[in-house]
Symmetry: D2
Subunit: 472 residues, 4 copies
């Protein structure tokens, strides 16, 4: 990441906060403002450390300390990407735990003579293990948009932490803090409608990660009377969705995404729907990476929909298979022949593809034209569907998780693999990642716990009989 | 605390939650409900432990675990006081840290060879020191009113923990959790008005701890156009004030509480006020004992009032001196004579009190009539005012804090002792605790940080010149 | 009405508006303020007329005219009762229709030669008949609380108009205006709860006209989970209920008001209720006298309750019989004997009442003790119940309306007389007006239209068979 | 208007109401539904009249009558354009005033012998002049969106009434009703922001009548921090703006519309602005044509802005001159020469335009290229600016109103003509209507009343000295 692009990234991420900071001075700051050079030159480091120390010691009282933390926050915002990295390094390195204290505490635990002294030693050790930088991070929370500030700070910290062990520790501390604050118990489920603020809908457009929202008309279609969109919000970030899901209310289990995204498709009476299709679920905050809400979101939305529409019988997703083509390419390296039956090889040949030892399927896929050539597509459907099922249901990572991340997410949540759909997403992305196929993962309320246990405990993937047949 | 009164206490504290729980079953619980005998007989303990373990292991997925935690919570509500104590003891004893793990971790820290392994060992040790019961407590948070449940749980735990070291550890864990959740950054300042919900105002009447609210008319007077009332709320307990302050907007620094509480006193135009008197500040949640918001509340309210009323020049309290008479009684035990000047002794004598070596001041105070006897009161004012100043400004606890808790609170916040008021609160409580005197603590914006530092650092109490003169 | 009591009445009625007026000057008034002597001396009349004229002519534009109307309104508020009467008289007398114009217009209508000229003449005449004072009244509407001002103005005007024909015309104009503005289509139905603003609940206490609300605890009981309270509001008077009804959700048709008002009675689960009892309905605004909302309120509330509680089968009132004793006293003047059967006369005698030609029943009622004397009460129940039914169902005014106003209200709405309850309201008011009896009027959804037509068209009162039996 | 396009128009106008009607049946209708053929065949007319009569007579009570009115409303929605015209004709013709009654009443007024009988006769006559159809229209008001229904009904009625005198009377009645209901005192001023509901912002895009909103980005620019947008709303149509104004906060009086609409222009700090430019004001409801709010809207917005931004010194519009080119074309017919000075004629000639007796100016304007030809534009600016001032300030209609409708609007409101701006709107519309010029009308608070009186009373147009100089 060059300095300029980093700066752009930071500007984009944090830029909208600047307005918010304006109001702080009158609100909290009693002091002069902390002014730092954009790249945080060495000559500014002592003043920075001093300000951090003053916050931690609560000089002038807790309220003043918070005001000083606000000033620190504003100073951070004013820095270049390089300056921010240096700022974070100071925070990480100079305000970690005191290792000597920790070792002394550990020694006391090791040598505790009785239960009473063990308990005391443990408590003391726990305090010693709490790095001061965590208290400093907490103080940012009193600022307007302070929580959003910390979330965005982590978004910046994550790539930096990959290469720097001190920053890695800071990032882990911040994650622990955010896990506490973003406990699902604190989150609010809100329905998002065409009546919602435009400023919020604009964020949906920006954050949608599965099927890009092309325009305001596209968005309006996704919020029509036979659709539902729900998001989790945190009370301290009331304008920022954390994660959101888009649902279509339909008759029968939809197997094609274009039918759902077609703005000209007729609107159905949602009271007549028997199926809810979760066709997009997107995390909205980079800074909350690794903190999971999707499981709760789906369950809560199923509850909401069940209450509103008594006719709903089936809850299922319509999901991409993002890792399929990559996995398949890996397999091709090993020779494709073993994937195909004799009949399939013959069919491909008669569809015009010379099936040499490395040809056939691979060539067909890469020809880029097969989705527009009915014969060829027909010849491909057999082997690709079979391979798709194998990829989703059988392929695992070393730790036993399903190889496909979307499969892993829904299987962990207790869904089963219900149906594989051919030519379900023929967009460029759909073709290049999932060979145009999509999966319905189904949430059957009385099987969720069992499915979860089977998958989490034994790595067992539950599938419908249709899927089982396909796999043969 | 007898069982009956404990039960009453619990009923009162938690009773209003019961309605809320009704709705949960449909919302979260997938399982059968946990049914326990009211006094939690031994035969139920295994099922209880099993349910706690199932929650912690996340069996059936996180959502099911939360539903199970809800069931645990409802089971707790259904217990008698004895049963609850047993429930808490199970939680405290069986779900604390694994001491063997901790000791192994501590050993690893002690013997870490390089920085990398030290950091790893520290992180591992930190995890080992995190007791499972904390995760269980967190899971209650997903319930409707779950946060209020935990706050009230701590209110019940606090007296039990005084005599039980396992419960003491649990209480400390819960306190740490609540400190995280109730960080001031998460709190919302709201003005309370006569237009506020009656159900909220009813709580103010119940929670007011300084000058009891006698009736709805009394309350209405305290919410009139020349008054302000502000409270902090937590987003997850939106109907429950955490702490609130009552303010009168007046001309000149009020020195008499009855003037403020008089419902027939004329209402002044608040735009003409030059002084804001903070005449009552009450913590509303027993379960948040030891978690301090008052400092922030006062500062925020000063900010709000400054913005609304440009004419305000002075911010001060009108505060009781709750420990004065107790302290004075202690002094009497040592002989009162040294308190009085010759002139004062003479004045007391001529006011009709035989001032023997142990008589005089003490007798006068205990006569219970002096506030209605002008001559006597006049004779007492000199010595009592002087003693009052001495008590507030000079008397310290062993650790250097001011002996009087109210003085300590405002001095820590950066206020100074501005004025002592004679015959300022002649209610029974005012006479018996504070000898009828009240103090104005003054918040001068440009002195707050300095005052705080002087007091917190060096135990130095800042006073006005008037107070200094009284002390001579 | 003496001047002082009128002043008190006015102060009470309009006093709370004064605060609201303060803000107007900055908002609308561009001019100097209109200052008038409190009793509106003759010397001020010309300036008053001039200001009224300036408003009507829209001098300086419509916005300035409204500002001038605001100034007029404030001037009115500042007047004594006498001054107000004079103010209204000026408005009524000097700004009525121009009779010459009207007569010319009428002449044009009479002599119109063809349809076109008739239509034109009619339109012109309609304009001529619109008095300028109506436009002036309308202009008050742009003020903060302007609608409430006009409603309260009519409350003051109503008694004055009884004796003054000019004021009578003004009152009629104002009523026409308010009828337009307070069309039920504009009203909002809101549920009132214990969570509603205390300032609103305080008004309920003041406005309750049927069973006085004794205290905030009494009110809280009426807003408990097995109760409902609904009111109509106008969007321009959002804090002022226009009419409200109190409903109890019960099992079986309640026949005793004390059971409903008992604060210690157990709360039932409203989901288990089969009957909704409308036990109090009060008009809140004197200035809207003669403009009826009760019919719509009851129907809307029945709809709301039916939606919320599927188990409700019966909707009925529990109503007083306010005119019964007065009517009975009138009958006594004619000799009571014809009311009683021989058996009843005997029973009264044996209950200790010498029943001479004018004694017996009348004496018993006036003894004031019979409700505490079981024997006597038992002897009275027969004749009083029978007379009660006769009074409610048979006694009519000259115009065919039921004599009892409450009966007339519910019969017009389409209810039937369902049950008469003995010893149902033994409060002083209940005994002295209704001889302690109360009526259940029942709203059967499929009979409402038919009942209404029968009563409105033919004066026919529909009753249950139980009532029919009582009447025999 | 062909049947198809009328249908389209109606569908567009009323289509969105259909959803709203769905809910009514359960809410109000007790009866069977009124079903009519789409074109309202003769065979349905009797049932229609019968239903109208039943509503007016209040059969079954007022609530049932309203339910029946709802059914009528739904029936209307279901009709074709032709059917609707027939429906309205029935309402207009059969439910107007009873002319015989009116004439009898008029006769009674003419022959009234004394004041008492005159007053009575007048009142009776007023009632006779009130057509029943007005009461029927009022009953629609109780429906969900009933007010919007009537507003849209008038939008449909207006073109029909041009050619049909019965419908003209109905339209006039409806207008009178709406004037009462939409009195400015009932309207709410709301600020519209980027945080407002997308469904509302979508309406702004549709309703903007002055400078079309090209996209959501264009709209967002108009709602930025240095802009303000305000609208009036009626409480019974809370999602529908009635009229709205767009304001830019700038330094100095902006004379060019493109500067304001440029999405890439820098955002200024609104606190630093000294001028508020009202650059667009649009009526949003066709059905409220002829009912004026603009005057009040501007005044209220000036008040709001003055309160929020203390630095604002100047309030002015940036307005088109929509009738200028049409007027000029009319003048050309009379020969252009008299418009030009000798110098101007020479300048035009040297800019390449052969200025024959009818050539020159007209040709230049019609060349369509002059705005891209600097020399030519320079030569045109003198005469066009002079003619522009003449058009705005001097040209009047027969009734004394300014010929230009925008000029008339602002002059009536009390603004003065402040500045004429050359090349201020070079869009196609701006060039073809206003020759690219725009006017700043200025609202000086202390001159508004005087300006209004001068214009309304004497037809005198107040202008700045700059304008006066241009006119020479």
């Amino acid at each position: 990441m060059t300095e300029t692009s980093a700066q752009n990234f930071l500007d984009k991420t944090l830029g909208h906060l600047r307005g918010a900071w304006r109001g702080i001075a009158g609100g909290l700051s009693g002091d002069g403002e902390l002014i730092l050079g954009p790249a945080l030159p060495d000559s500014d480091l002592d003043r920075l450390r001093e300000q951090m120390r003053a916050c931690l010691e609560g000089r002038g009282g807790e309220v003043s300390a918070r005001a000083r933390a606000a000033s620190l926050g504003r100073a951070y915002i004013g820095l270049s990407a390089e300056g921010r990295a240096r700022f974070l390094t100071v925070l990480a390195s100079d305000f970690g735990v005191d290792h000597a204290d920790v070792q002394a505490g550990a020694q006391a635990v090791v040598s505790a003579a009785d239960e009473g002294s063990l308990l005391r030693a443990e408590r003391q050790l726990r305090n010693a293990l709490q790095p001061p930088r965590v208290r400093l991070l907490t103080q940012f929370n009193a600022l307007p948009e302070g929580v959003k500030f910390l979330v965005d700070l982590r978004a910046e910290l994550l790539p930096l932490a990959l290469e720097n062990s001190a920053l890695k520790g800071l990032e882990a501390d911040l994650k622990d803090l955010l896990i506490q604050w973003f406990d699902v118990g604190f989150l609010e489920l809100r329905r998002i409608k065409w009546d919602s603020p435009a400023s919020l809908l604009e964020r949906l457009i920006a954050y949608e990660a599965v099927h890009a929202i092309e325009s305001w008309d596209d968005l309006k279609n996704r919020l029509d009377s036979d659709r539902r969109c729900f998001a989790f919000f945190h009370p301290r970030m009331p304008d920022e969705p954390l994660i959101f899901v888009e649902v279509a209310l339909v008759s029968g289990m939809t197997g094609n995404i274009h039918a759902l995204l077609d703005e000209d498709a007729p609107v159905i009476d949602p009271e007549s729907a028997d199926t809810a299709i979760f066709y997009s679920i997107s995390n909205a905050q980079k800074g909350l990476a690794g903190i999971s809400f999707g499981n709760f979101l789906i369950k809560r939305v199923v509850d909401e929909l069940s209450k509103e529409f008594k006719g709903l019988k089936t809850f299922a997703t319509l999901s991409p298979i993002p890792g399929f083509r990559d996995w398949l390419d890996g397999r091709f390296a090993e020779g494709e022949l073993k994937f195909l039956t004799a009949g399939e090889r013959k069919a491909l040949k008669s569809a015009g593809l010379a099936g040499g030892s490395k040809g056939g399927l691979k060539n067909a896929l890469e020809s880029g034209l097969w989705d527009e050539t009915p014969d060829l597509a027909a010849a491909l459907s057999g082997p690709l569907m079979r391979l798709g099922v194998r990829y989703i249901a059988d392929e695992k990572r070393g730790d036993g998780r399903a190889l496909d991340p979307v499969a892993h997410f829904h299987l962990t949540n207790g869904a089963r693999v219900e149906r594989l759909n051919w030519m379900a997403d023929t967009s460029d992305k759909g073709m290049s990642q999932s060979a145009g196929m999509m999966v319905n993962y189904r949430y059957k309320l009385d099987e969720i716990d069992g499915n979860h246990e089977a998958y989490s405990g034994k790595g067992e993937v539950r599938v419908s009989s249709a899927i089982r047949n396909l796999a043969k």
